[in-house]
C-alpha cells in the first residue's frame, strides 16, 4: 500500500503539492509514482526563474527502464529546483515527500484554481488504477 500523507494535495498525474509558510508550493512525485518507476537514476529539475504554465512538463525523472515527464499542476515561477538530486536521485525513492521534492514554485497571481485531489481522493484513484 502506498504512502499518501493526508496534509498534501495530489494530481491525476501523480504529483504532490505542499504549501510552504511563505505561500510557495513544493512539488514532487508521489510514493506510488516512484514505486511504479523503479530505481531512479537521474532527475532533471528546472532552473530558478523559469516560468511555467499549468500542465507544462517541468522535470524529467529517469529510472533504468523509463524516463517520464513531471507536470506542473499550476502556473507560476520556479523559485528553486532540488539540485541535490543530481548526485542522489535515489532519495526520490526513499523519501518522496521530503528530500525527494523536485521544485518550489511561486504560483502566478490570479491564476485559475487548479483541480487538485485530497489524500482520500488520490488513494481512491490509485486503488482504481490497481496500485
Amino acid at each position: 500500500m502506498s504512502n499518501v500523507p493526508s496534509d498534501l494535495k495530489y494530481t491525476k498525474t501523480h504529483e504532490w503539492l505542499r504549501t510552504l509558510p511563505d505561500g510557495t508550493l513544493e512539488i514532487g512525485i508521489t510514493d506510488h509514482a516512484q514505486h511504479a518507476l523503479g530505481d531512479l537514476v537521474f532527475a532533471e529539475v528546472p532552473e530558478a526563474g523559469r516560468k511555467l504554465s499549468a500542465g507544462e512538463p517541468f522535470a524529467v525523472v529517469e529510472s533504468v527502464k523509463a524516463a517520464s515527464d513531471v507536470y506542473s499542476p499550476v502556473a507560476g515561477e520556479v523559485t528553486a529546483g532540488n539540485t541535490a538530486l543530481a548526485s542522489e536521485p535515489e532519495v526520490i525513492n526513499s523519501d518522496a515527500y521530503g528530500k525527494g521534492w523536485l521544485m518550489r514554485l511561486r504560483p502566478a497571481a490570479g491564476g485559475a484554481a487548479p483541480a487538485l485531489m485530497s489524500a482520500a481522493e488520490y488513494e481512491k484513484l490509485i486503488a482504481e488504477e490497481g496500485g
Binding site: 527502464k65 523509463a66 524516463a67
Partner: protein
C-alpha cells in the same frame, strides 16, 4: 513474392476485429496526394543477371578519375585489412543487433570506437554514431537546445563558413521544431569568421554557436577566441570537425584560452575519412561526442562497460531510457540510427593507423595540398582566394567561368574541385581543391598542366 505470412482469412479477421474494411483504410490519415500508387522512374524488376550487367556498365562509366574534390568527403588510402575485417560474418551487419548484449564482440567494438572518438575530440562521451556529418550537426543543434537550460531562445548562430549542405540539413532536421538558425557572415579576404562578427550578439539570448574547423574553405578559424566568447555568455559550442585533422589540430575539448573556457560542449563530424571509401557519396557515418554533463541529452546508442553477476567484464547498451523504443515521441531523437558497418571499418582503420599513423596521414595531406596550391597558382590566371593557413583544402580563383573548365578537366580524367559559385556566388569564379596523401607530385603536375591548357583554350575561344 509477398513477404506477409498472413492468409487472406487472417487479414480479414484482424480487420474485422478493429472495425476497418481494408488495409488501405489504415493509411487514410495520409493525404491522397502524398500516397503514390507507383513510383515514377522506377522500372519493373530486373533479373539478377540483368542487374549485374547494368551495374558493371555503370561502374565502367565512373572510370578511375584523379580526384581533387574534398568539400566534406575525402579520398584517403584504406588499408586492405580494414574491409577484410569489417566484412567478416561476425561483424557484417548494418545495425547493433537486437538483443544487443548477446553480441559482445560487436558491443566491444562499438565501445572501443567510442573511446577512440572521445580521445580524438578531447571530450568525455561518444555515441555509437549517427547517419552522417550533416545530420549529426542537426542533432547537435537539437541537443544543445535541450542541454542549454539557461537559454530560452532556441537561436543557433551558424557561420556561413560551415558546409552549406550541413546548414541545409540542419535546417531541414530542426527548422520545424522551432529552432532559429542565424547566419554569421565571413570575411571575404580571410575566408573566416571575422573577430568582430559576434559583438552584435552581446547581451542577446543565444543557445549555441556552431564552429567548423577547418571550415568549408579549408581555413582555420580562431576557435579559441570564438569559444571563449560563447562560454563567457552561457552559449553552448558545437564543433564540426574533420577527424583526420584532429591528429594535428587542437581537439574541440581543449578549445579556448587556458583558464578562460573549457572547450566545446559537443563535437560532431563526418566519419568517412576514417576508412570509408568515397563510393559516390555514401553510405557514410556521423560521429558525436560531448561533455559528460550533457550525456543524457545525447541522441543515439551508447555502449557502456560493466560487470556481470559473476564480476566478469562485459558490455551493455546504456542510458536507453531516452531512446525512441522506450520514450517514443519524447526520445532524444526519432531519426537517428547507428551506422554499425561503417563504424566497424572506422574502428579497424583507427586501430591500424594508431595516433602516429593518423598524424602521418594528416601531415602528408597538408603537405600535398600546399604543393597543389603552389602548382596551381603558378598557372597564369589562377590565384589563391584567401590568405592564411589551411589544413588539406583551399579555395582558388580562376579568371574564366568555372563550370566549362571543370568539364574540360573531366574529359582529361581529372576531377578538378568543387565549383564554389553555387554556394558562394559573391566569390566570383572559384574552386575548392583538396589533395590527400593519395596524390603524388606527378598527379599534381598533371592537374596543373591540364588546368593551364583548359584556361588557355577558354581564353582563346
Amino acid at each position: 513474392m509477398a513477404f506477409i505470412p498472413h492468409t487472406r482469412e487472417d487479414v480479414r479477421s484482424m480487420l474485422e476485429a478493429i472495425g476497418v474494411d481494408s488495409i488501405e483504410q489504415l493509411f487514410d490519415e495520409i493525404p491522397a496526394s502524398l500516397r503514390l500508387a507507383a513510383l515514377s522512374g522506377v522500372p519493373e524488376a530486373a533479373s539478377e543477371m540483368e542487374i549485374g550487367r547494368l551495374m558493371t556498365e555503370r561502374a565502367r562509366a565512373d572510370g578511375r578519375p584523379l580526384c581533387f574534390i574534398g568539400a566534406g568527403a575525402y579520398e584517403h588510402h584504406v588499408p586492405a585489412a580494414v574491409w577484410a575485417i569489417a566484412t567478416r560474418g561476425e561483424f557484417y551487419s548494418a545495425y547493433t543487433p537486437y538483443q544487443a548484449e548477446a553480441s559482445q564482440g560487436t558491443l566491444q567494438l562499438l565501445y572501443e570506437y567510442q573511446t577512440m572518438m572521445a580521445s580524438l575530440t578531447g571530450l568525455e562521451v561518444s555515441n555509437a554514431s549517427l547517419y552522417d556529418g550533416a545530420s549529426a550537426m542537426g542533432e547537435a543543434c537539437l541537443m544543445a537546445v535541450r542541454a542549454n537550460r539557461k537559454s530560452h531562445s532556441q537561436r543557433i548562430l551558424v557561420p556561413t563558413t560551415v558546409n552549406p549542405h550541413y546548414r541545409r540539413t540542419a535546417a531541414a532536421v530542426a527548422g520545424n521544431q522551432g529552432l532559429i538558425f542565424e547566419e554569421l557572415p565571413y570575411c571575404t579576404e580571410e575566408g573566416c569568421i571575422p573577430p568582430g562578427a559576434l559583438a552584435r550578439y552581446d547581451g542577446q539570448d543565444i543557445t549555441a554557436l556552431v564552429i567548423q574547423q577547418p571550415n568549408f574553405f579549408g581555413r582555420l578559424e580562431d576557435v579559441d577566441a570564438l569559444c571563449d566568447w560563447a562560454r563567457a555568455r552561457n552559449i553552448l559550442v558545437i564543433a564540426v570537425v574533420n577527424p583526420t585533422s584532429l591528429a594535428l589540430l587542437k581537439p574541440p575539448g581543449q578549445w579556448g584560452s587556458p583558464g578562460a573556457s573549457k572547450g566545446a560542449d559537443i563535437a560532431v563530424g563526418e566519419g568517412q575519412p576514417l576508412g570509408v571509401p568515397l563510393s559516390s557519396g555514401g553510405p557514410y557515418f556521423g560521429f558525436m561526442t560531448a561533455r559528460m554533463e550533457h550525456v543524457r541529452q545525447m541522441p543515439g546508442r551508447i555502449v557502456g562497460r560493466t560487470t556481470d553477476a559473476g564480476g566478469r567484464p562485459g558490455f551493455t547498451l546504456t542510458l536507453q531510457a531516452r531512446e525512441q523504443h522506450i520514450r517514443r515521441a519524447k526520445a532524444t531523437s526519432n531519426i537517428c540510427t547507428n551506422q554499425g558497418l561503417l563504424v566497424t571499418a572506422a574502428t579497424v582503420y583507427l586501430s591500424l593507423m594508431g595516433p602516429a599513423g593518423l598524424e602521418r596521414v594528416a601531415a602528408a595531406s597538408h603537405a600535398r595540398t600546399r604543393e597543389l596550391v603552389a602548382a596551381l597558382t603558378r598557372v597564369p590566371g589562377v590565384r589563391r582566394l584567401f590568405r592564411g593557413p589551411t589544413f588539406h583544402e583551399d579555395a582558388i580563383a580562376v579568371d574564366r567561368p568555372v563550370a566549362p573548365v571543370l568539364e574540360k578537366l573531366a574529359a582529361h580524367g581529372i576531377h578538378g574541385g568543387l565549383d564554389l559559385g553555387e554556394h558562394y556566388p559573391e566569390l566570383g569564379p572559384a574552386l575548392l581543391v583538396c589533395a590527400t596523401e593519395t596524390k603524388t607530385s606527378a598527379d599534381i603536375e598533371r592537374y596543373a598542366s591540364a588546368l593551364a591548357d583548359c584556361l588557355r583554350e577558354a581564353r582563346a575561344a
